[in-house]
């Protein structure tokens, strides 16, 4: 166990090196550096507008970095297109759910599975036997992924006909179908009540183990973050505020100030 950890330490799955992003005069992320070991489940927290989603967009190539570097699995991924980064093994979900709304639930997952499909355009035109076989396999596989998040009964419903909580689960299933090594979850429990969010936390933990993932999680539900994450990185105003284990973060005065305001300090002193 110990030797494994040491070996992994030398070669992180994801490494951010002084990553910065400016939009005109606004700095959304400044000098963000952290690394994520294989198999780790890390939380990225911070108040609204702290630059967490921007960090996701920089890792996945949606935005171009202003400066810094992102290294995934020993390869520099800075400057690559999002679809190339996905193919290297990075998948994500979106804060403001971006499903293919008018398509069926199972088709949403099929599109993700296509990422690793290789049959040619010519054979697709003629729908050769090989293509038919592959298509059938894709569909079956898609149902398995739906099964993993408990959505198999909704497979043929229209994606946007489901309630929000289920749509978030579908986003997770779709991301898993990309067969990623690194999974980025952007507020998967947003809008859920405490019971639902704890149930989701359990699901995330199960999936993390079952698919041998490395997971980076943005979340506002602190009970979810504290229950799941071995390591937490806190951002505020685009900057690093703190980094550490759940216990360390919970007692960090800077973090408490950012979350509870100046009033917290005075209350503590008196």
């Amino acid at each position: 166990m110990n030797s494994l950890t040491v070996a992994a330490k030398t070669k992180p799955m994801l490494e951010l090196k002084a990553v910065s992003k400016r939009f005109g005069g606004i700095t959304a992320c400044k000098d963000i550096s952290f690394d994520l070991q294989q198999g780790q489940l890390m939380g990225l927290i911070g108040p609204n507008g702290a630059g967490k989603t921007t960090a996701f967009n920089l890792i996945t190539g949606v935005y171009k970095l202003t400066s810094g570097a992102v290294i995934f699995n020993d390869q520099l991924i800075t400057g690559r297109r999002p679809d190339q980064i996905v193919r290297m093994g990075v998948a994500r979900t979106f804060q403001n759910i971006r499903l293919f709304k008018r398509l069926s639930v199972v088709d949403n997952v099929c599109i993700a599975l296509d990422c690793h499909e290789t049959y040619f355009l010519g054979s697709a035109f003629l729908r050769l036997a090989g293509v038919r076989r592959r298509e059938k396999a894709i569909r079956e596989q898609a149902l398995e992924y739906l099964n993993a998040v408990g959505l198999e009964s909704k497979a043929y419903a229209r994606a946007d006909s489901m309630p929000y909580g289920l749509q978030r689960k579908l986003e997770i299933a779709r991301a898993l179908a990309l067969k990623p090594r690194l999974l980025l979850l952007d507020e998967p429990a947003a809008g859920m009540n405490p019971d639902e969010s704890l149930e989701l936390a359990e699901l995330i933990r199960t999936l993390h183990r079952r698919f041998q993932l490395t997971t980076l999680l943005i979340e506002h539900h602190m009970d979810v973050v504290m229950a799941l994450c071995e390591k937490i990185y806190v951002m505020n105003f685009g900057l690093r505020l703190a980094e550490g284990t759940a216990d360390e973060i919970q007692s960090d005065p800077e973090v408490l100030k950012a979350y509870l305001g100046e009033g917290y300090k005075r209350a503590q002193h008196s």
Partner: protein, 290 residues
């Protein structure tokens, strides 16, 4: 020869700029390509022609009639074809199709009722030339340059200085916020279409006087679309620069190379520019919010 070509180019460029501004103005507010605009320009030319030739009105009055007529048509166009979509918050794709439909409808309605005949304005200015220092320029071209300049300048002044103008500029950034701040958006959009229509009337008159009046003269407005895209859709200074640039370059190409190459040239220019600058010269750079 060079200065002569430049002046002719400026005259055409001025008209292109007028059309491009009208088209871009609508784009800046509603974020879609108003492909019906070409037909409004064509109808503007017909209205001007009827006022001047059939009703015997003087040139100045005819221009005013054409402006008023086109402004009304453009306003009605918005009320009938776009505002139902706006209320439903339809995507810009639907607006574009509706605009295409309007354009097809209007052009062919003119074909079916008035016919495909060519009409030409009386030779009022065509024969008059101003000559100075060995350069001769048509009086019409001088008018076109002067008139386009004045029209664009007064629109600019209005947008920069008046309360309504400021509201229009605000709406082009965020229509919802504008509405929450108590601006009557329906009236504002109506006004914008009215302005665009007025510009269509002026450019229609000049196009008609320079060339001829016929149902598909709206295709010249494809040049206006190209000019607006070169300048960056939704940017009014961009539309002016794009229009003048396209007019001048085209005139040089037809003068020094051949007039056949001209249209192929403007298309190639467009594609080349978009490859380098996907949002045109002055287009607002929109990074998708994720």
């Amino acid at each position: 020869m060079f200065i002569q070509t430049l002046l002719t180019g400026l005259a055409i460029g001025g008209i292109y700029a007028l059309m491009a501004v009208g088209y871009s103005l609508v784009f800046s507010i509603l974020n879609f390509s108003n492909f019906a605009y070409g037909s409004i320009i064509m109808l503007g030319a017909y209205i001007g022609y009827y006022a001047m030739v059939k009703l015997g009105m003087p040139v100045g009055v005819s221009i005013i009639v054409s402006i008023l007529g086109s402004a009304t048509l453009c306003y009605l166009n918005e009320r009938l074809a776009y505002s139902p979509l706006r209320k439903r918050r339809a995507s810009s794709l639907f607006f574009m199709i509706s605009a295409m439909g309007t354009s097809i409808f209007l052009e062919n309605l003119v074909y079916a009722t008035i016919g495909a005949r060519f009409y030409s304005f009386p030779e009022l200015f065509k024969t008059h030339n101003l000559a100075f220092g060995g350069i001769s320029i048509g009086l019409l071209d001088v008018f076109a340059i002067a008139f386009s300049f004045c029209a664009i300048m007064s629109l600019n002044l209005f947008l920069q200085r008046s309360r309504t103008g400021i509201a229009i500029r605000a709406a082009s950034y965020d229509i919802d916020v504008c509405m929450l701040n108590g601006v009557n958006i329906t009236a504002l959009i109506g006004l914008v279409f009215g302005f665009a229509g007025a510009l269509a009337g002026i450019s229609g008159m000049f196009l008609g006087m320079k060339y001829i009046v016929y149902p598909t003269m709206g295709w010249i407005t494809a040049k206006a679309y190209i000019a607006a895209v070169i300048g960056g859709l939704g940017s009014l200074p961009g539309a002016v620069v794009g229009g003048v640039l396209l007019g001048v370059l085209e005139t040089f190409v037809s003068a020094y190379v051949s007039s056949v190459v001209r249209d192929v040239f403007s298309f190639s220019l467009l594609v080349l520019l978009l490859m380098v600058m996907p949002t045109g010269l002055f287009g607002r750079f929109l990074e998708e919010k994720v």
